[in-house]
């Protein structure tokens, strides 16, 4: 099996590699006149950090004892923006991409009024409030990132663009999100090589060559997925034959090659409400289950992981630092069939054995309604078909928190997550995860299995329910709420083009 060589100088680096910078600013611009915009974008292309550039930055950063501050820049353009600069998007068959997010807010489960207009959006209700261009600016220090941001905004203004949105994202301690849970643990591994050198893979391969799973996993819990799921012009993932390259995504549209779709959703987080809920439910579950249940355990049941990232499937009673500190263990679980023993290649030929882990198909350790189980069923067969299909729905998540951390500022302050995720089909990837699974209490495993109590949306006044069940499915206790603590406040669907696309605009 030969993995495709990725065009590292054409693909923007945030999609396949991720900046992973402690600071990430987003700036949303509306274009002025087309000619000035095209000229500016073309010039800007020389400053774009390609996959090659970002990869080098990440490598150097992980090894350098003294960190050389870097600033990274990627861009993404909306369908409206693309049309403004003369690209015909009418033949792109993705109704989410072709419209402002507000048009499909109801489909996404966001709160809407009788005319289906979103009621909680700060941006993205219409094309007027959707950026034509999203600047994604990463940096190692807040000051440098902000300075670079100002420079870019000024340059955009000189090109006739106007700023309609700006937000500062920053990593929280422990790589956590605002509810306190470590985030971004589980990402699929993208197949593909960075050069013609043998085994020069984008995604590091940790399994020993002798391990029979080495062709399927980069490391325990990280399945390998063909890059066409995330970047146009490359082979896609086939459900039944994961080792075989599928048809190319975006094959019929050369201008999309080496580009990606990017969804941005600004997700406000109500930390006070969440904490209040888990505290109340700790009392409820203590009574219902006849044993002491802590608020942390309630949170872990809702998420599927403890705050330190250790999964409840592996450690149902309490967090396990030995697991959370070990990249080879923290994601080594599967619901339907458990995981096999794996061999991690070690230095000096001393391979490390990762033992097999049991399954949890009866959802006794990770509830059916847990967030990570709802949005990533792993090896479970679902309402959408065989388990191999699950990988075709996954995205590359590159989000970062915004707003001050909760203990620092206790008053209800706007804080949350700048959710960013790359894919090549909004309707076959994001929409399935969001609308068919996360917001659907009857999917992916069982009818009435429960809502995603962490991020799932419900109509105003309607309850969300998660029910803990015994092995035969009899209910033991329910978590019920009409509240939400993750509130979508707008966003947009964008296209992150190749470097050449930008360069040839002028």
């Amino acid at each position: 099996m030969i993995e495709p060589q990725l065009d590292v100088r054409e693909i923007q680096g945030h999609s396949l590699r991720g900046f992973d910078t402690p600071y990430l600013n987003l700036v949303g611009l509306k274009f002025g006149d087309s000619d000035s915009t095209r000229a500016w974008l073309s010039a800007l292309s020389y400053r774009i950090d390609s996959l090659e550039s970002v990869h080098q930055y990440r490598i150097i950063r992980s090894f350098a004892s003294v960190r050389t501050p870097r600033l990274l820049l990627n861009v993404a353009i909306s369908a409206h923006g693309l049309e403004r600069i003369g690209t015909d998007v009418s033949t792109v068959e993705d109704g989410l991409f072709l419209n402002p997010m507000g048009l499909n807010a109801g489909l996404l489960g966001d709160r809407v009024d009788a005319s289906m207009t979103p009621t909680e959006y700060l941006l993205g209700s219409s094309w007027d409030t959707t950026p034509d261009l999203l600047l994604i600016i990463g940096g190692d220090t807040a000051e440098a990132t902000d300075t670079f941001t100002e420079q870019l905004s000024s340059a955009g203004a000189m090109a006739g663009c106007s700023s309609i949105y700006e937000e500062r994202g920053a990593l929280l301690a422990g790589a956590a999100e605002h509810f306190g849970f470590r985030d971004g643990i589980s990402q699929v591994g993208v197949r593909g090589t960075l050069s013609g050198v043998a085994d020069h893979y984008l995604t590091l391969r940790f399994l020993a060559p002798a391990d029979p799973n080495a062709a399927l996993f980069a490391k325990p819990g990280q399945p390998l997925v063909w890059p066409g799921q995330f970047v146009f012009g490359y082979p896609t993932q086939l459900p039944a034959t994961p080792l075989d390259p599928g048809p190319l995504s975006g094959e019929e549209k050369p201008w999309m090659r080496n580009g990606s779709f990017l969804i941005f959703r600004r997700m406000r987080q109500d930390v006070i409400k969440f904490r209040s809920f888990v505290q109340q439910q700790a009392v409820n579950l203590t009574q219902a289950l006849g044993r002491s249940v802590s608020p942390d355990e309630v949170g872990a049941l809702i998420v599927g992981r403890w705050k330190d990232g250790s999964p409840t499937l592996l450690t149902p009673a309490q967090p396990n630092p030995a697991i959370s500190a070990d990249d080879m263990l923290i994601n080594d679980f599967a619901y339907a069939l458990g995981t096999p023993q794996m061999l991690i290649r070690g230095a000096d030929g001393m391979d490390r054995v990762i033992p097999s882990e049991p399954d949890d198909h009866l959802a006794q350790r990770c509830p059916h309604f847990a967030h990570i189980r709802k949005v990533n069923p792993r090896d479970l067969p679902t309402d959408q078909g065989i388990q191999g299909r699950n990988l075709t729905f996954q995205m590359l998540r590159r989000g970062i928190p915004y707003g001050p951390p909760y203990p620092t500022s206790t008053e209800p302050t706007d804080r949350g997550l700048l959710f960013l995720a790359y894919q090549t089909s909004f309707k076959r990837q994001f929409q399935v995860l969001n609308s068919q699974w996360m917001n659907n209490p009857s999917a992916p495993e069982l009818t009435n299995e429960g809502h995603d109590l962490l991020v799932g949306q419900n109509p105003a006044g309607a309850d969300r329910v998660g029910t803990l069940r015994d092995p035969v499915g009899a209910p033991r206790a329910s978590l019920i709420t009409a509240d939400r603590w993750v509130i979508p406040t707008g966003g947009g669907f964008f296209f992150a083009p190749s470097v050449s696309f930008l360069r040839t605009l002028n």
Binding site: E251, L337, G385, A443, T447, V472, A474
Partner: protein, 464 residues
């Protein structure tokens, strides 16, 4: 004594107050007979399951828990799999387009009529290839889409109604299809329908002239009232649940749904429904639980919304979607309809759904979750019926590894499977130009051998 209710406990019987008691007891008897068939030890095509029970006939004393719902997606996965190796941009459109084309066969069902000379000729039967227990019909005038019907009503219920009161069925057809001009005799067979001859050369009358024809034009090419696909039936659902509860030879522990159905051949391996239903039932059975289908037995669309359905001006039209027949609590839907609001001067194809032009029923079906409901409990003394050997095995299609065929467990390798072996698996795809195997010559060969059914429709599978 409790009775089995019609699907979703829909109350058509009250339209005929005098007949209602007969209808209620008759439907109950019909359902019990379906379940009793699964206990027929004389049937050579059946393995009786020790863990499948009749919910309303259970005398164990063990209380029934709340039903467990098993969900699957309504869009035919077989088409998604079939087109999976096509260019990505074409996959969805191809599947949506072909999903709406009916299939006409004069061999699959084995129906014959006697001509004036006394010779028997096969009768062409038209059915929809939508095989996930949800079927839909798109009503068009030229290129304009006037209306869409979505149904998951089983044919047995409608056949039962017709046996007792064909005028009730006629009334319902006219009402559901908004057409008072449907003639009653358009719903019935114009001649006696005979079976294929048995080993002794004898034929039986399957349907008498004038009796209800489930595949009449108003339920196939001109509308949709109930399911038409050969695998979409309550009988098949019951049989699937029974077969799923057998002790199939599978590794201990959690169940691989795909491996199970390849072993057991209790349904279509390329479907969303069968692997999920059979696998879910088996997962309960391996815990030693007995399984029954929960009353009322049926298969349902779960209630859904279409917030992204907008008129040509971009204005949402929630009233375009109606649930015409449903359970009392509105959760389990038997029939849905989409049409422009009354008085609208546009057609559905001028509307958008989720930002895209509304051109196919499949755009909606992909958003529908189907469910059936089972109960599972410990019944003292109930034991699993072990099956020592797999009945079947699967092979990937030679030029499309996402599509599978099911074959007898006869130790042949996949490479040894012939075009004829594959033909049975491609029954619902025979007319799709994309594949090369089902040649015109092969179809003709089947046509000129009418004296035996080449295969049997058995539950959710075509038996070997």
């Amino acid at each position: 004594m409790p009775l089995y209710s019609p699907p979703a406990a829909i109350d058509d019987f009250s339209r005929r107050p005098a007949l209602a008691p007969t209808l209620r007891s008759g439907w109950d008897a019909r359902m019990r007979a379906f379940i009793a068939e699964t206990k027929d030890a004389t049937n050579p095509d059946l393995i009786v399951s020790g863990l499948f029970y009749d919910q309303l006939a259970d005398t164990s004393g063990a209380p029934d828990p709340a039903p467990t719902g098993i969900p699957w997606n309504a869009f035919p996965q077989i088409l998604t799999n079939w087109f999976a190796t096509q260019p990505v941009a074409n996959q969805e459109k191809l599947a949506n387009d072909w999903a709406e084309k009916t299939i006409t066969t004069d061999s699959l069902f084995g129906f014959f009529r006697k001509d004036s000379a006394g010779r028997f000729a096969p009768i062409p039967v038209t059915y929809r290839r939508q095989d996930e227990y949800c079927e839909w019909y798109v009503e068009r005038t030229g290129n304009k889409i006037d209306r869409m019907y979505f149904t998951c009503e089983p044919p047995e219920y409608w056949t039962f109604l017709a046996e007792n009161d064909i005028t009730l069925v006629h009334d319902l057809y006219k009402e559901l299809l908004h057409n008072q001009n449907i003639a009653r005799d358009e719903l019935t067979w114009p001649f006696d329908v005979y079976s294929a001859p048995n080993a002794q050369g004898q034929r039986t009358v399957l349907f008498k002239q004038g009796s209800y024809n489930p595949w009449n034009d108003w339920n196939t090419t001109k509308g949709a009232v109930h399911l038409t696909h050969w695998a979409n039936s309550l009988d098949a659902e019951v049989r699937l649940a029974s077969d799923g509860s057998l002790g199939w030879p599978q590794p201990a522990g959690a169940v691989d749904f795909h491996r199970l159905i390849c072993c057991a051949a209790f349904g279509g391996v390329n479907r969303s429904s069968d692997p999920k239903i059979g696998g879910s039932v088996f997962s309960l059975a391996v815990q030693g639980l007995s399984i029954a289908l929960s009353n009322p037995i049926g298969l349902y669309m779960q209630s859904f919304q279409l917030p992204g359905l907008r008129d040509p001006q971009g204005i949402p039209i929630p009233s375009a979607l109606t649930f015409v027949r449903k359970s009392a609590d509105g959760q389990n839907i038997l029939r849905a309809e989409i049409a422009p609001p009354l008085g609208a001067e546009y057609s559905l194809d001028q509307c958008t759904v989720n930002g895209e032009r509304f051109l196919y029923g499949g755009q909606v079906t992909r958003l529908i979750t189907m469910s059936l409901f089972a109960v599972a409990k410990q019944i003292p003394g109930a034991k699993v019926t072990p099956v020592s050997t797999c009945l079947s095995t699967c092979c990937p299609y030679p030029t499309n590894g996402q599509f599978f065929g099911t074959f007898p467990n006869d130790r042949k390798t996949c490479a040894q499977r012939t075009d004829k072996d594959w033909a049975r698996n491609l029954r619902d795809l025979a007319d799709i130009q994309a594949h090369p195997l089902m040649t015109h010559a092969l179809l003709l060969e089947e046509h000129i051998r009418p004296q035996q059914a080449l295969y049997k429709v058995l539950g959710r599978s075509l038996a070997f």
